[in-house]
Subunit: 317 residues, 2 copies
């Protein structure tokens, strides 16, 4: 276990924390029920560059809508989707992480329209297909092979030590669910994320649930601890993230009376993955101020992606 990690401060911090909370008689021992760990997804468990994987799914849908309706080709975000203007979208996200959400609102407005009226089970089928058939634009691999091997090993290591691991992502909850079990071993009921509001439509065959063109909540920043509490009913003791949107979740781990470990993934490896701090500036400052453990992709990870088991997975796709 943890074989894809290099020896170093990050690996030592993880091993030390798990030893302290699992050793019988340790002053920081935690019963199994209290060993709850939460992980951001984009940029923490799988790669998010050149753009978040979910955005590709949304753009595909928006482009298809613009294909049908020429008037949409003049409106953002349909225009960017139809013109494949991914640079515009990347800027929107960078601005968001810097605190400017003006254009993000335009994108989110389009996203809400994109799936309005679709029923949740049809969406699940569409997301499953995209994630299992689609390929990353630059990394030469399927999307379901874009998970970071050291983080998958960390999930396995924690699970073997009695932890329950949850995803708490700013990404869409129902988009991730069809693939989290396969990539991470995390079942649908342990996926916390952003969601549109829903409506139940009764019929003679058990009814359906459809997405509305309005948000339920955007699971980012201070909303993350709230949704984690709502779903789990406990304060986690371990949290891992990589951006400014994870600060409150990283703060929340452990709390006043229990041990906590907060991990911040730093993307500093242009050779094997990507090199960026945009959107993580405040999180890195908070890590220094609070003594959180920074995980350097370049220094701490011996392997980034799992190519050995990837082919095994692909056979099953």
């Amino acid at each position: 276990m943890l074989r894809s990690w290099n020896d170093g401060a990050a690996l030592a911090a993880i091993r030390d924390f798990v030893a302290r909370v699992t050793a019988e008689g340790s002053p920081e021992f935690l019963p199994v029920a209290e060993r709850v760990a939460v992980f951001d997804n984009d940029g923490t468990l799988w790669c998010e560059k050149p753009m978040p994987i979910e955005l590709g799914f949304i753009l595909q849908r928006l482009a298809a809508m613009a294909e049908q309706d020429p008037a949409l080709r003049e409106r953002q975000p349909w225009k960017a989707a139809y013109d494949r203007d991914y640079a515009w979208l990347g800027e929107v996200l960078t601005k968001h992480y810097a605190g400017d959400d003006s254009e993000l609102k335009v994108v989110l407005g389009g996203v809400l329209q994109a799936f309005a009226g679709m029923d949740v089970e049809a969406y699940q089928v569409a997301a499953h297909g995209f994630l299992h058939q689609g390929r990353h634009p630059t990394l030469d691999r399927h999307f379901f092979r874009c998970g970071y091997k050291p983080m998958v090993e960390l999930l396995e290591y924690l699970t073997a030590n009695g932890f329950s691991c949850y995803i708490a992502s700013g990404g869409d909850r129902d988009f991730m669910r069809p693939v989290t079990e396969r990539i991470y071993g995390i079942p649908a009921e342990r996926v916390i994320g952003t969601s549109n509001a829903l409506r139940y439509e009764p019929d003679e065959h058990g009814g359906t649930i459809v997405y509305l063109a309005e948000p339920d909540y955007f699971n980012d920043g201070p909303t993350k601890p709230l949704r984690i509490w709502s779903r789990i009913g406990r304060r986690p003791v371990l949290a891992a993230g990589n951006s400014n949107g994870d600060i409150e979740m990283l703060q929340f781990a452990g709390g006043p009376s229990r041990p906590g470990l907060s991990l911040l993934v730093l993307h500093d490896d242009p050779e094997r993955e990507f090199d960026y701090v945009a959107g993580a500036e405040r999180a890195l400052a908070a890590a220094r101020a609070n003594g959180w453990t920074v995980v350097s992709v370049k220094r701490d990870w011996a392997t980034v992606f799992d190519d050995a088991t990837a082919s095994k997975h692909e056979e099953g796709s």
Copy 2:
């Protein structure tokens, strides 16, 4: 298992359904991951008369507020709480189940005020104390002994057959959580219920989450399937309820392509429990129309409450 059930149509329907979905080679076989069951709580898993257990907790809090502030003694629902006018409150709930929510809004307004500003961990401690120390007003037992023995056995039977059981209640999620593991073996993360909105308040010690004086959602009626989907990401195949607020959840179980079992508990036993259909009239009609299985407390349950293990539980309180 299921020893507290009498032989009859309800027991046969439960055994038949579980056999059909768990037998390898059965045309209706379901993999373990798809064996999801959802249960209403008040009136389905534990008794809700003469008033819901949670209401006692809220009234205690409202009465304490009126004790501090005489002006509140002239305002509902503080007036009823302070005067111990439980009949007024019972009528409010009966009206709600009949479709008239005018006075329920007055009560809910008071409920929202009752816990506004309290942090979730302090609330958890208070609810734990109430549920473990408080006693039912007429049944001569602690609240944590008010679970129906046949339903606890049903949860155990389903769990032994690979099901994951969730509570999906109109009651407050965080009120139930401190006691669901003890009574039902259902952990906090499998409790779906009503909730106030929350706010994260950062501090130097991991921050706190506090309740706001506004609802997040009221988990009743058509909201139940939505919250079930949001939390689990699957359509359940078994649902159990007892009131009009459970109709949509009972409809939703199974769905167009999978087997489903919907159970409706009928309270018809004034000797051992209570006898009432107020608030369940439409649900009973829907059960007849849809072929749902009605569970009669009087006919189908050999034992209602578990007195043998109750004393064992009480030793641990």
